[in-house]
């Protein structure tokens, strides 16, 4: 019964030497970070991240940092190590918020493909206001944390779940997503640069640049630049005077993100780390 040992031993030698020799001769320069990241990833090639194998996710991650959250099976501390390898610094926690009240009337009936990206291409979108949200939820699909949800016509970002990876900002053809500090209190929910007269006609809650908010704000945190009120979040202390001053309800309070974060583990990672 020694033949078995001889046969498998011989095969072992042939393959061992072959692979060793090949690993030198067929060497291909690879970004060392990719090597380290694919070590940290679970390596199960389960495909849940949308990539066929972990190595390919690692290579993609090096270029596009939004993908750090794609791996569902990756545990906490290797996730943190990957972020440090990619040099992602976690300063103040950022979140994204939808800056449109969706109240604009429609220009025409739109029956095309139900995605914002396509709707935006057809004659500047079916909404009267060309800056308005198209409401097909591309941002919802893009968000790997299900942090954006739709209530009625309006889209809301759940500040507890959003970790500010910015995937939704790319998905929105109107770039309505405002990338602001997590502890911001006030939001101007409009994105339109049209003159006040036009906005007043087509949308109930749009900003008509009446400058009331600017007058009432003691810290000059809010200014109207080309027909749209813009908040400088470093100055704003969230006193809320502008909210009452704005008669059209464009400026809205942001619900404070409660400390106890819901079960979504990805969000807890950032919460703990950035404090």
């Amino acid at each position: 019964m020694i033949e078995a040992v001889i046969v498998i031993g011989a095969l072992g030698i042939v393959f061992g030497v072959g692979l060793a020799y090949a690993s030198r001769k067929l060497e291909v320069p690879v970004d060392p970070r990719v090597e380290k990241i694919s070590e940290l990833l679970p390596g199960g090639n389960c495909g849940a991240c949308g990539f066929p194998a972990c190595r390919i996710l690692a290579e993609a991650m090096v270029e596009d940092h939004h993908l750090i959250n794609n791996c569902k099976a990756c545990d906490e501390e290797s996730w943190l190590k990957i972020c440090s390898i990619l040099g992602i610094k976690f300063g103040k926690k950022k979140i994204a918020l939808v800056a449109c009240s969706y109240d604009s009337v429609d220009k025409f009936e739109y029956e095309g493909v139900k995605t914002c990206a396509t709707a935006a291409l057809i004659m500047g979108g079916f909404r009267a206001c060309e800056y308005a949200c198209l409401g097909f939820g591309d941002c919802v699909h893009a968000c790997t944390f299900d942090a954006i949800e739709r209530r009625g016509y309006k889209y809301f970002v759940d500040t507890r779940k959003c970790i500010g990876c910015g995937a939704c900002m790319e998905a929105c053809p109107r770039d309505l997503m405002r990338y602001i500090d997590a502890d911001a209190k006030v939001l101007v929910r409009c994105n339109s640069l049209d003159k006040g007269k036009i906005v007043a006609k087509i949308c109930e809650e749009g900003c008509i640049a009446c400058k009331q908010c600017e007058k009432v704000c003691e810290r000059e945190a809010i200014k109207v630049e080309n027909n749209l009120a813009v908040i400088d979040y470093d100055l704003c202390n969230g006193c809320g005077l502008c909210i009452e001053a704005c008669k059209r309800g464009t400026i809205v309070p942001i619900f404070p993100s409660k400390k106890a974060v819901v079960s979504n583990s990805e969000a807890t990672r950032t919460e703990k780390k950035s404090d």
Binding site: V5, I8, F15, L19, S23
Partner: protein, 173 residues
């Protein structure tokens, strides 16, 4: 060159050692279980042989068995294998010297459960007993065996494989 060689050895030695260990371990365990596996195989064939010719003892010929009861040759037993609906069907067939089928017993099959598997039931296999080999055909193919409704493919498969194998054994003896 020496350094390169060292590197290649460093990489391939562990693989070789693991291969050799696994080879040795498996040969050892194969020797242990070899006897048991043969015994199991033998048991299975004997058990199906005894169903065909109860109480006979068998001498192995190439590909079929000769059944002798108290010294006198009464018939042959052999395995017919063929492709059925779901996979291969193995049937143990007993045949008297004058060419009539004594009994058949389905050894293994993976037909559709509930439908194809009915070919192993006695009320189907008993049709074969006492039939001359030439008549072993489905009724619709001009024979005497009536197929199981809804499982014509399985029934035709088992009937044809039994007849073909029986004819082969017949002109061999």
């Amino acid at each position: 060159m020496g350094e390169e060689l060292k590197r290649i050895l460093g990489i391939s030695i562990p693989l070789i050692i693991i291969c050799v260990i696994s080879g040795a371990a498996l040969t050892a365990s194969y020797d242990l279980t070899k006897g048991k596996i043969e015994m199991v195989e033998q048991e299975r064939t004997n058990e199906s042989l005894s169903i065909i010719f109860p109480g006979a003892n068998f001498t192995e010929m190439n590909g079929y068995y000769i059944a002798t009861v108290s010294g006198e040759e009464i018939g042959y037993a052999f395995i017919a294998t063929g492709k059925g609906y779901g996979g291969t069907i193995k049937t143990m067939v007993g045949m008297y010297k004058n060419g009539t089928i004594s009994r058949i017993h389905v050894v293994s099959q993976s037909e559709t459960p509930g439908l194809g598997t009915m070919i192993a039931e006695p009320d189907f296999t008993s049709q074969f007993s006492g039939k001359p080999v030439e008549d072993v055909r489905l009724k619709q193919d001009g024979g005497v065996i009536d197929a199981i409704t809804g499982a014509t493919i399985s029934s035709r498969a088992i009937t044809d494989t039994v007849r073909e194998r029986a004819e082969v054994v017949m002109n061999e003896t």
